[in-house]
Amino acid sequence: MPARRIIPCLDVKSGRVVKGVRFRNHRDLGDPLELALLYCQSGADELVFYDIAASPAGASVDASWIRRISDLIDIPFSVAGGITSVDRAVQILDAGADKISINTPALRNPELIDQLAARCGSQCVVIGIDTQMGPTGYEIYQCTGDTATIHKAQRSTLDWVREVQRRGAGEIVLNCMNADGVRTGFDIEQCNDVRAVCDVPLIASGGAGCADDFVDVFNQADVDGALAASIFHLGTLTPNQVKATVAEQGIEVRL
């Protein structure tokens, strides 16, 4: 199988990279282009840009910065945020993005997944899922970019994971909300439970605090990649430092 991927995620709000804790209190961390190049040069396998303001505001991402990112970096990147139509997805892919990632719009209109897969191919359709354990099992939340709009989607995570695959999703990013931004390790248990019903590539997201957290999620939950923000943005570790630790444990990464 391919090398396990280390994926820095840049949450973009009004053209700046921001990061919150458990989706709240966003702090300014810098310019998306500068950070993109920095990560590209320090071993990132892929980048994700989440326009976190897009879905709650009913807006969609602007394509001009996507073109600038595409010109700058030579690793794959995906764009998420308010992509509600096939036409919009095609614009973003044309601007140079390799994948589009949809979250809230897929929950509102699941048919969109089928349409995107038919038009653009499953390989570029990533489904992002914001999820945590609730009283009856794992539950999905939507419009998570803003505390004013975040709410439960009334769906079971595991059912949704099965459904999006049937509809043509090519990859799933599992954002475990209870772990997000607190840097106490990935939610291994939830990743494992989702892995059991997920045949397409699965990316763990939320909770990375040290290089060993990546080792654990690869070894214990068999995810294809692991996504993190704070640990990279705050300069705690570079992707290459994480990969060195992961490789020492005999896990294949691109060095």
């Binding site: 991927r5 140079g96 390799d98 390989q123």
Partner: protein, 197 residues
């Protein structure tokens, strides 16, 4: 002077990424769906992501297919563009351009191997060829695909999926990359540089 690159506009897909990669190398690119313009190009790149059937129909109905089939200067197919260079494809059960012999087959999931095959895979050097100068076995390239050609006499580099697959093929003026050189870091850049030579 770098040769001008004409990127075939197949409507959507990885056009932007391919254009960006050549511009980082200082090459001029144009994007075109005009068969006459493509016929006169110094170098042609056939990019492509997505489903094979609508793209192949588009190439046939616009006359671009015929132009590519008789094109004598260097031609590079990337990912779906590479797959369409083969004689036939499982996806949509269609005929391709017939520029490379063989059939592009559906990848089967196996223990430790998921479909789509998405991520950085190690390359294995099968044959030497000017297009792969500077690339070595063990280098990583970025793949995103659910179909692939078997290893055959035109394979320059291969990769391991549930079975060995062709990662880079070359035959006469034609080169096909199953991986995405435009998104494969310095390894991909080296390949694109070789294509410009």
């Amino acid at each position: 002077m770098r040769p001008n690159i004409t990127i075939v506009d197949i409507g959507g897909g990885n056009l932007g990424a391919v254009r960006s990669a050549f511009s980082r190398l200082g090459a001029q690119t144009i994007t075109s769906a005009d068969p006459d313009l493509i016929a006169k190009a110094e170098r042609v790149v056939l990019p492509g992501v997505g489903h094979a059937e609508p793209v192949m129909n588009h190439l046939n109905s616009t006359g671009i297919a015929e132009v590519l089939q008789t094109f004598e200067r260097p031609l590079l197919g990337v990912c779906l563009g590479m797959q369409l260079m083969y004689q036939s494809l499982d996806e949509g059960d269609i005929c391709g351009l017939g520029l490379l012999p063989g059939r592009v087959k559906k990848l089967q999931p196996a223990a430790g191997f998921r479909v789509p095959n998405m991520g950085w895979c190690q390359l294995h050097a099968d044959r030497s060829h000017p297009i792969s100068n500077g690339l070595r076995g063990g280098d990583y390239a970025y793949f995103v695909h659910s179909f692939a050609a078997d290893v055959d006499q035109h394979t320059i580099l291969s990769a391991q999926a549930s079975k060995p697959i062709t990662a880079l093929a070359a035959f006469e003026n034609r080169v096909g990359a199953q991986f995405h050189p435009e998104r494969s870091g310095p390894v991909g850049q080296k390949l694109l540089e070789n294509f410009l030579c």
